[in-house]
């Protein structure tokens, strides 16, 4: 028993020492860049911080990443349209942390789109634009000269390019999560999602609306819009996120008009490939006027941020 008590005392002492170091570490981290300060300016009381930590770390909401969005669009048979991408020349316009975070997401989506469609002339330019945004946000190691060099050396090797794009996104997200800049990470995700939705809705030819595969994927975004709003609401005390939430909630209201049914699914395993197919489940429908409303809203939101 005494042994156990001594052990417990030791453990508590270790915890107290660790917490002291934690406070010192937090203080030393106050010397942040201007970019970080703007987006993380409001300090939370401990209880709220704890809740935010729990919410961010123990219950994850995974939104489609730029690469996944690009694959979904390509999978519908849609063609590449470079006029829908944000021009790389615009990069010098982005000077605030909010605009840099949003446009890091936007440029990463454009980069993914260009990579997925083997648009070699655009790949390096979009990676360079993303690099500038990442550097402006103080995200170290996410994209560097070696990344650009690797892309240039493998410009005709789609597998390598995809791998680099995937790693770039992973690096920036993990850097921000490690640095507890969850709001910046969420803003980047929002930027990528808005760009993907902007590109996909604007690729739809209204003359071929009925039975359009691309329209079906946009219906499916109803769930992701809900996830995005929920994710951003976690950081709603952040001024930049608060500004984003207004128009996104308005967009969500339009998506709420999209009807989706729920039904239990069944699984069928293909023993040859080891892949399980999930059969059944939800189906959705959208009226052309609702689709146009969504397209107009997302275009409006996106055009404000790429200015």
């Amino acid at each position: 028993m005494n042994k156990k008590l001594n052990y417990l005392r030791g453990l508590i002492l270790l915890i107290v020492v660790t917490l002291c170091f934690s406070v010192i570490s937090c203080k030393s981290r106050q010397n942040k860049t201007e970019a970080e300060k703007t987006i993380t300016e409001k300090k939370q009381p401990n209880a709220e911080l704890l809740e935010q930590y729990k919410s961010a770390e123990k219950v994850f909401n995974a939104l489609p990443t730029p690469l996944e969005i690009a694959q979904i669009i390509k999978g519908t048979g849609a063609t590449f349209d470079e006029t829908l991408l944000n021009q790389v020349d615009n990069q010098s316009n982005y000077t605030t942390s909010k605009s840099m975070a949003l446009n890091l997401g936007i440029y990463t989506c454009d980069l993914s789109f260009a990579s997925m469609y083997d648009q070699t002339t655009h790949i390096v330019n979009y990676m360079s634009a993303a690099e500038k945004m990442a550097k402006g946000l103080g995200i170290m190691d996410a994209i560097d000269e070696n990344t650009i060099e690797k892309l240039e050396q493998n410009i005709n090797n789609r597998d390598v390019i995809m791998e680099v794009v995937s790693e770039t996104f992973l690096n920036s997200q993990s850097y921000l999560e490690d640095d507890e800049q969850h709001a910046v990470a969420a803003t980047i995700i929002a930027g990528g999602f808005i760009e993907g939705l902007y590109i996909s809705t604007n690729l739809v030819d209204m003359k071929k609306f009925k039975g359009n595969k691309l329209v079906s994927t946009i219906i499916d975004q109803k769930m992701s819009v809900d996830d995005l709003v929920r994710l951003l609401e976690t950081y709603s005390d952040n001024a930049a996120i608060q500004e984003l939430l207004g128009p996104l909630k308005d967009l969500k209201a339009s998506f709420d008009k999209v009807e989706r049914s729920k039904a239990p699914s069944q699984t069928v395993l293909d023993p040859k490939t080891g892949v399980t197919e999930i059969k059944g489940a939800a189906r959705g429908e959208i009226k052309p006027e609702t689709f146009l409303e969504i397209r107009n809203k997302v275009t409006e939101i996106r055009n404000v941020y790429v200015k």
Partner: protein, 147 residues
């Protein structure tokens, strides 16, 4: 006693006392070890990792799209007991549990119709031990087949 120690460890991790170091280790673990479990599937770029203690659970919600082939890979750091994961459909029906599959680290699937799935990850417990509960990084990664 074991429960008290577990609560104290979780409190320290949540308070951030060791959070940054642990998170940085998680990043390295996810990138160098867990990503390999994706095999030929392209990693989507998402990063979900946290330090969990024996018996602790984490949940993840993600929408998966029709006409895509996915792999979900879930890995725990060395020293942790096996990681159990269960996948539920949008109505709460269990689609897969890896316990009866030798605690396999990944599951491959595709969907007839897009839907949101819930993934519950649980660190199992070492049987009959009264020592400090193990804690370590658990990562959840997604990949898809490019066409």
């Amino acid at each position: 006693m074991r429960q008290l120690i577990k609560v104290l460890i979780v409190a320290v991790v949540l308070a951030g006392g060791t959070g940054n170091v642990a998170n940085a280790q998680c990043k390295g673990f996810a990138k160098s070890l867990c990503k390999k479990e994706l095999g030929a599937y392209l990693h989507d770029g998402n990063y979900h990792a946290a330090v969990l203690v024996e018996g602790e659970e984490a949940e993840l919600y993600k929408t998966f799209y029709s006409d895509m082939e996915y792999r979900v890979a879930i890995c725990g750091a060395d020293g942790l007991p096996p990681i159990e994961f269960t996948i539920f459909d949008s109505t709460g029906k269990i689609l897969y549990n890896n316990k009866g599959d030798g605690y396999k680290k990944f599951w491959d699937f595709k969907l007839e119709a897009s839907q949101q799935l819930k993934i519950v990850v649980k660190v199992t417990t070492f049987p009959g031990t009264n020592e400090i509960p193990a804690s370590g990084c658990v990562a959840i990664m997604f990949g898809f087949i490019t066409k």
